[in-house]
Amino acid sequence: MTSGMIALAIGVMMGLCVFGTAIGQGMVASKTMDAMARQPEMAGKLQTAMILAMALQEALTIYGLLIAFMLVGRI
């Protein structure tokens, strides 16, 4: 029973965890593309900034992933 609940929790948690980051990264990418199309000469700088912003968001999902691995160990 408990291990079933843990398995369910992992699924729900990873789903929610990825959901927010996916929206956030999509927004970052789309706005960067807009900016690059408007000012192609800024493309290099924008790309660095985009990767940085994405990495910061990704960290949040990674925290979830770590918890998921910990929970998988408990099943």
């Binding site: 700088k45 660095t48 990767i51 940085l52 990495a55 990704e58 960290a59 990674i62 925290y63 992933l65 770590l66 691995f69 910990m70």
Partner: protein
């Protein structure tokens, strides 16, 4: 997480495969640097040429956040971090990583990434104090207004934590996913993840160096 099992012990110190792999990587890098700079010429040979290109590329990359002058001054720190992280990340793509005794990806172990983050933390504050003087540096924590002090302190303490966890989580996640894919279907399926790893390993090393350079830029900026 994964229990780092000891390969052998030197006195009271247990040596695990992660440590052995980091030593090998450090030795290889040192050897490569020695070979590349052994007899430097005005018209460089292939190895020196590659090394020069790498150094110049990294310096320009850091100069984007830190400015030309400081980038040159502090380049050894960032260069070391970047090269060590990227080589250890890519070592996971070699066959047998994590399977053979004495060969495990260093950055997929929390102790290694935590050590890197602690070094980064100390570096940031040491450079801040050295560049601005202790009094001025401490005063900069009260900068917008003094009430923000607890928040600023928490932010400073969270930084090494997030640096360590980001690198560890990415690499450990990649390793685990590759392993799971291998368990599902051993032929060609793990290759999908390996191709993605080629990209992610590079980006993670870049992100670590970039964040560190931003922290250093923030700590060492001198008011006019």
């Amino acid at each position: 997480m994964e229990e780092a099992s000891a390969l052998f012990t030197i006195g009271p110190v247990e040596v695990s495969s992660v440590v052995v792999t980091s030593w090998i990587i450090i030795a290889l890098l040192a050897l490569l640097c020695w070979l590349a700079t052994r007899n430097m010429k005005d018209v460089p040979g292939p190895l020196q040429c590659a090394a020069e290109m790498a150094v110049e590329g990294m310096e320009n990359f850091i100069a984007g956040t830190l400015g030309k002058e400081k980038a040159r001054k502090y380049f050894p720190i960032f260069g070391t971090f970047f090269v060590f992280i990227i080589v250890s990340n890519y070592s996971g793509l070699l066959p047998g990583a994590g399977q053979i005794a004495g060969f495990a990806v260093p950055t997929a172990c929390l102790s290694v990434t935590a050590a890197l983050a602690v070094i980064a933390f100390c570096t940031t504050h040491t450079l801040g104090v050295r560049e601005r003087g202790l009094g001025h540096y401490l005063k900069s924590f009260l900068k917008p207004f003094a009430l923000m002090l607890p928040l600023t302190l928490i932010e400073q303490l969270i930084r090494p934590l997030s640096l360590a966890l980001r690198l560890f989580g990415n690499l450990y996640g990649e390793e685990t996913v590759t392993h799971e894919l291998y368990n599902i279907f051993p032929i060609l399926l793990p290759l999908v993840m390996n191709v993605l790893s080629l990209l992610f390993c590079m980006i993670q090393a870049m992100v670590f160096t970039l964040l560190l350079s931003i922290y250093v830029a923030e700590a060492t900026e001198t008011e006019e």
